[in-house]
């Protein structure tokens, strides 16, 4: 297979490990954008999801947010983000990409936080209240630890979505690994294209595996991991 040989040669070329288009720089750009997007999404979605889950209000909204989230086409989000970014003077590149990917992480985080809290056995919460825990105490010391596996798996789904979609940022002159794919397609350089695609795929799988490992480590051994809503 000459394609594989070409791709290997592409990776071996020291020129691809130097300068502003270096592989490690592109990976860092990709992770920087994705990390910030997941943090922003959590900052928005976790408080809302935890509040709705704790009080049990607006369950209809929380569950439907997930379905709407699945319908959001990533390229359309980018299309909407671009005029917004220009309107507020943030221009091309990093910011429109960030605006486009944050909404992809919000639905799974919000819905899993809500479902995680709702799934906590009502008797346990009753018992906690009976023992004199405040509402905040119930949330922090009972509901959160029990819901943690589901909350984390929501964040994992969101993170994988974000890493996948951050690739499209290259279309609006952003950095990240999408550069290799978009440039490879434009220049018809299939070694660059294939290498970029491989890097993105591996990064997404690595994020998935890293989060799964973290989830297992962070889950209290007393509770069996339940299957997530996603």
């Amino acid at each position: 297979m000459s394609l594989l040989a070409d791709t290997l040669r592409w990776f071996a070329d020291p020129a691809h490990w130097r300068g502003s288009d270096a592989i490690q720089i592109r990976i860092l750009e990709h992770l920087e954008l994705s990390g910030l997007a997941v943090l922003v999404a959590c900052a928005i979605a976790l408080p809302v999801g935890l509040y709705l889950g704790h009080t049990g209000r607006f369950g209809f909204v929380a569950v439907n947010v997930a379905n709407v989230g699945r319908a959001l086409p990533s390229l359309a989000l980018l299309a909407f983000a671009l005029p917004i970014s220009f309107a507020v003077g943030l221009g091309l590149g990093f910011w429109p990409t960030l605006i486009a990917v944050v909404p992809l992480a919000i639905p799974p985080v919000l819905t899993n936080a809500y479902v995680g809290l709702r799934n906590v056995d009502r008797d346990v919460i009753e018992a906690a209240r009976g023992m004199g825990l405040s509402e905040g105490g119930v949330l922090r010391r009972v509901e959160l630890p029990l819901a943690l596996p589901l909350i984390l798996s929501g964040i994992r789904t969101g993170a994988v979505n974000v890493v996948a979609t951050a690739t499209l940022g290259a279309l609006v002159a952003g950095g990240g690994l999408g550069r290799y794919i978009v440039d490879g397609l434009a220049l018809q350089e299939y070694d660059r294209l294939f290498a970029g695609a491989l890097l993105v795929a591996l990064l997404a799988i690595a994020v998935e595996v890293a989060f799964s490992t973290f989830e297992r480590a962070a889950t209290s051994p007393g509770i069996r991991a339940e299957r997530g809503a996603f």
């Binding site: 086409p73 390229l75 671009l82 994988v160 996948a164 690739t167 397609l185 993105v200």
Partner: protein, 217 residues
């Protein structure tokens, strides 16, 4: 996005209805083929899993991994092999439907009450009759729920295939981004979301039509 240019130029839309209609056709075609082929493959794999349960883990692992690979990366990996073609787009699109469809088909068929199955066997149904006359109809609501999800996500993913020369409404988005022309990209984005909503509504109607007994419950 250019100074002095309105966000939407209605005269552009009026002058490009042919183009928009063509992209609509392309979008629907790519989606229907992907979900149709996905459903056939998923159904076959599901039957295989139901008969040989140890296959469930490897098949779920493979379809799950495919699902995790970002769409643009999957299309890009295929381009050197199958070129900038409809085939490349469809292989990618079909891959993404499998996880959702298999999960729902299996959940649906496993959810058929054992009593019902026993009664059918007692009445002399063969394995094939049991599948087509009892299990599939009773699982239909769950299966169609899977088809709805697969259709919505496929309609979104079709927009990404614009990068490999296909794309439906995604083509308008891509050209809009490249030309810095907000009308075209907004038209593409709004119509692809609208198409997803319409397709979902149609499938809900189809499900009501196909499972009239569900309304009584």
């Amino acid at each position: 996005m250019t100074e002095g240019e309105p966000l939407i130029r209605w005269d552009w839309i009026a002058g490009h209805l042919d183009e928009i209609a063509f992209r609509l056709g392309q979008h629907v075609e790519l989606t229907v083929i992907a979900v149709g082929a996905g459903l056939l493959i998923a159904f076959g794999l599901s039957l295989l899993i139901l008969r040989t349960p140890w296959l469930e883990a490897p098949i779920t692992w493979v379809t799950g991994t495919l699902y995790t690979i970002p769409s643009l990366a999957l299309f890009a990996l295929l381009v050197p092999v199958t070129g900038l073609s409809v085939l490349t787009a469809e292989i990618g699109l079909v891959s993404y439907t499998l996880l959702i469809l298999i999960r729902n088909i299996i959940r649906g068929i496993r959810g058929v009450p054992a009593d019902v199955r026993e009664a059918a066997v007692g009445m002399g149904y063969t394995r094939r009759q049991l599948l087509w006359r009892i299990e599939v109809p009773l699982a239909l609501a769950v299966i169609i729920a899977g088809v709805r999800l697969a259709t919505i996500s496929t309609i979104g993913l079709v927009t990404v295939t614009s990068l490999i020369g296909q794309g439906g409404f995604g083509f308008l988005i891509l050209i809009g981004i490249q030309r810095f022309f907000s009308t075209e990209l907004i038209v593409g984005a709004v119509l692809s979301v609208a198409l997803a909503i319409c397709a979902d509504a149609l499938l809900v109607l189809l499900q009501r039509r196909l499972t009239p007994w569900a309304r009584l419950a």
